[in-house]
């Protein structure tokens, strides 16, 4: 199939129906509990709600909300890479919902960081006092993520302008058209930035843990960690796009891009396989295979096994074309990427055998609150703005 012919611009439309469904209320409740605990945290300090200690200064908020959260928000990056750089225009309908999940993932990661920061009120100084900038990989992540949020907003803004273009007030409509044209013109530069920035900060997320030096287990401590983090954000990104597209289509009665998702999953398969091969090769070349016979070696193998499981599902063309198996593969991809990232930030990090960490209940409640808020905002966004595709490429072809 020729990508150039088959792709028609899908028409995005808001999802009809009431916003305040039962599920939405439940999400708001969980998010509300999270907010309450967050207030508690700001009043009484981090020690009051977390199990963080001087040995494990970073817990689930960083490892999951930020490190995994931004990777889950890499759907936009992963798809944009295919669409715009590799010129696979066929995946275009997936871009807008993917960018929305990206924005949610990144925006909430920034919020999670703010909750986690001990001296959050000084955060504004980071981009401002540039003469104090250091070589810290975390500074790179911070600046990049801040900037990337604006890029994502710009990438998603056509959804807003499209809605406003239909505004009954002519001045608003005129402004929206103007903005749309502006975005359109600068598109290439914005999207290039949208690809460059995640490449930079996702790799820096890997560099960050290299500073832990001897306290990071040798199976994870590799100068290639930044590269592995790029691979893993692609794996997570593809996983989330497949799941999100499938569930959204099902939930909102939208036509499903089964064929396209199958091809996307195939790309993910090769990335996952490459990840596993690269990881084993790297460990073998640094002569650390002996470390596999240890508890953390087992964790390492489990992590790779998860990647292989996802790839194995996607090996068969039948399964690749089966919507249920696509989703299952997506789940496996997400679990695999999450595993790798949680391992690097928590499990393989050893400040000393005398330190223990497992998130406290309020800590978990805040994370759950974030996830619930993310889902609630997603529901609100797709029901308010034209984000989800109304027709599939396949449907267009069929018609």
């Amino acid at each position: 199939m020729n990508a150039h012919v088959s792709v028609h611009e899908p028409i995005h439309t808001p999802v009809p129906g009431p916003l305040f469904t039962r599920q939405f209320r439940w999400l708001l409740l969980v998010a509300g509990v999270g907010v309450a605990v967050t207030i508690w945290r700001f009043l009484f300090g981090l020690g009051a709600v977390t199990n963080l200690s001087n040995g494990y200064p970073w817990g689930i908020w960083i490892a999951f909300d930020v490190v995994v959260g931004t990777a889950l928000g890499c759907g936009g990056y992963a798809v944009a890479l295919l669409v715009f750089i590799l010129n696979k225009g066929e995946y275009h309908p997936l871009v807008r919902p993917a960018v929305l999940t990206s924005l949610l993932g990144y925006g909430l990661a920034v919020l999670a960081v703010t909750v986690d920061l001990g001296r959050y009120w000084d955060l504004w100084k980071v981009p401002i006092f540039f003469w104090q900038w250091s070589h810290s990989p975390q500074l790179e992540v911070a600046l990049c993520v801040m900037l990337y949020n604006f890029v994502l907003l710009a990438e998603l803004s056509p959804a807003l302008w499209e809605k406003l273009e239909k505004s009954p007030r002519p001045r608003v409509a005129a402004f929206a058209s103007k903005a749309m044209r502006f975005i359109h013109k600068g598109g290439v530069w914005i999207i290039a930035l949208g690809i460059l920035l995640p490449t930079m900060h996702q790799s820096s997320l890997g560099t960050m843990m290299l500073l832990a030096g001897p306290r990071l287990h040798a199976l994870w401590f590799t100068p290639w960690l930044p590269f592995l983090f790029i691979l893993s954000c692609l794996i997570l990104g593809y996983g989330i796009v497949v799941c999100e597209a499938s569930f959204a289509a099902k939930a909102f009665g939208r036509p499903r891009e089964t064929e396209m998702l199958g091809r996307l999953a195939n790309v993910a398969k090769w990335v996952a396989l490459f990840f596993v091969a690269f990881r084993i090769g790297d460990v073998a070349l640094s002569g650390e295979l002996g470390l596999l016979a240890s508890p953390l070696g087992a964790v390492f193998l489990a992590e790779l096994a998860m990647h292989l499981a996802a790839a194995a599902v996607l090996m068969s063309a039948t399964r690749r074309a089966d919507p249920a198996w696509q989703v299952r593969a997506g789940i496996l991809l997400i679990l695999a990427g999450t595993g790798f990232r949680l391992n690097t930030y928590l499990v393989a990090f050893n400040p000393g055998e005398h330190y223990r960490y497992f998130p406290a209940v309020p800590e978990l409640l805040i994370t759950l609150g974030f996830v619930a808020a993310e889902l609630a905002i997603y529901l609100w966004a797709v029901k308010t703005f034209p984000i989800l595709g109304g027709r599939t490429a396949a449907a267009t072809r069929r018609s």
Binding site: N51, S53, N54, G55, Y56, C243, S246, F247, A249, K250, R256, T258, E259, A317, T318, A321, D322, P323, A324, W325, Q326, V327, R328, I331, L335, G352, E353, H354, Y355, R356, Y357, F358, P359, A360, V361, E363, L364, L368
Partner: protein, 372 residues
């Protein structure tokens, strides 16, 4: 009457006393308690004393200052009179003996003959060995000869004071007379050492009491010192210990810390390396009558490795560091895992993954199966 104050007792005169069992038992109990002997020993000892079975004691003086005798004389419980007339039979003691010259030496010989194998020999002072031991002679005998002669038939030998225990001041560098402790001369015999400069009289009394009553010697450490007195360092029971633990040290004599009674370690106190019970049993029943109690650092008089060797104001390493539980370990356990949190995380995580996995089936429900 025996329980009355020393002054009344003295005015009553020695001849007026009569042994009354109850009072005597009271006194023996006090003495035994002071040195850490059980009450039963005090009872047995009182019985024996009432029956007139008093141990014969021969006390030799060599190179010394008589400080140990002097401190013994100033003990009020038991008072000297009670001690030498009621508790023991002091048959030879050059400072206290009534006879002199030839008569004195005859007393010693007579006591040795009469109590052969039973008498207690107490040695005070170091024994010079250089040039044939000529630097200390009594009645024409060198200290070495006299000691050997007297020790031969002794039932128990006790060296009192640091001089007799390990040489003391006379043995300080350059040790011109070759002074040594009694055990160096009496090789092969058990010489109970009660070092100190002076030795605390209670440690002597306790040892003598036990020997006289039970016929045994107290448990001894590797330097033959009674463990009841020398088993701990001064530091371990020092009344100023709290200041040491809190890091509050007097820095010079008369400074604020010194006046406040802070730890004297930095002034050179040897308490942490000195084995003795001074911090528990002060001298002569006067509270605070011991060096640290008076604001002076311990100078380690009982320890051969310290006294007259390490300069007065030098600090020393601590012999046995305090029990570990007052210090944090190198790696203290920190952080915890709440079972509730694990439960919640497991449930939510599991539910999401399982739910999604199950839902995956529904996703494809209304989709036509792909035709390959």
């Amino acid at each position: 009457m025996l329980s009355e104050t020393p002054s009344t007792r003295a005015s009553l005169g020695l001849l007026d006393r009569e042994l009354r069992r109850r009072d005597f038992l009271k006194f023996c109990t006090l003495a035994a308690a002071a040195v850490g002997l059980p009450l039963s020993v005090a009872e047995q000892f009182a019985e024996a004393a009432v029956l007139g079975k008093k141990p014969s004691v021969i006390w030799l003086h060599f190179q010394e200052c008589t400080g140990c005798t002097e401190s013994l004389l100033r003990t009020t419980a038991p008072a000297l009179d009670e001690l030498i007339l009621d508790l023991i039979s002091l048959d030879y003691h050059e400072t206290l003996l009534v006879p002199s010259g030839k008569l004195a030496e005859e007393c010693r010989h007579a006591a040795m003959e009469a109590n052969a194998g039973k008498y207690v020999l107490i040695v005070e002072g170091a024994i010079p060995t250089k040039d044939g031991g000529i630097y200390c002679k009594i009645g024409g005998q060198t200290a070495i000869e006299m000691l050997n002669e007297t020790a031969e038939k002794a039932g128990a030998i006790i060296a009192i004071g640091s001089c007799a225990s390990w040489g003391g001041i006379p043995s300080a560098d350059p040790n011109p007379t070759g002074a040594v402790g009694a055990h160096e001369i009496l090789k092969g015999k058990t010489v109970v050492s009660i070092p100190g400069c002076p030795a605390n009289p209670y440690n002597l009394l306790g040892t003598v009491l036990q020997y006289a009553t039970l016929g045994t010697l107290p448990a001894l450490d590797e330097l033959n010192r009674p463990k009841f007195a020398y088993g701990q360092t001064i530091h371990e029971h020092c009344p100023r210990r709290a200041h040491f633990d809190a890091g509050r040290f007097a820095l010079e004599y008369g400074d604020a810390g010194h006046r406040e009674g802070w730890c004297l370690y930095r002034l050179g106190c040897k308490g942490p390396a000195t084995h003795a019970n001074c911090s528990v049993n002060h001298f002569n029943e006067v509270v605070g009558a011991w060096p640290i109690g008076l604001g002076h650092p311990c100078f380690g008089c009982t320890e051969q490795k310290l006294a007259f060797r390490v300069p007065l104001h030098d600090t020393v390493p601590i012999d046995r560091p305090t029990p570990p539980d007052t210090y944090p370990p190198i790696h203290a356990e920190q952080g915890g895992v709440s079972p509730i949190a694990t439960g919640i995380a497991g449930l939510v995580g599991g539910a999401v993954v399982a739910g999604a996995w199950m839902a995956a089936k529904k996703v494809g429900d209304d989709e036509p199966k792909p035709q390959n």
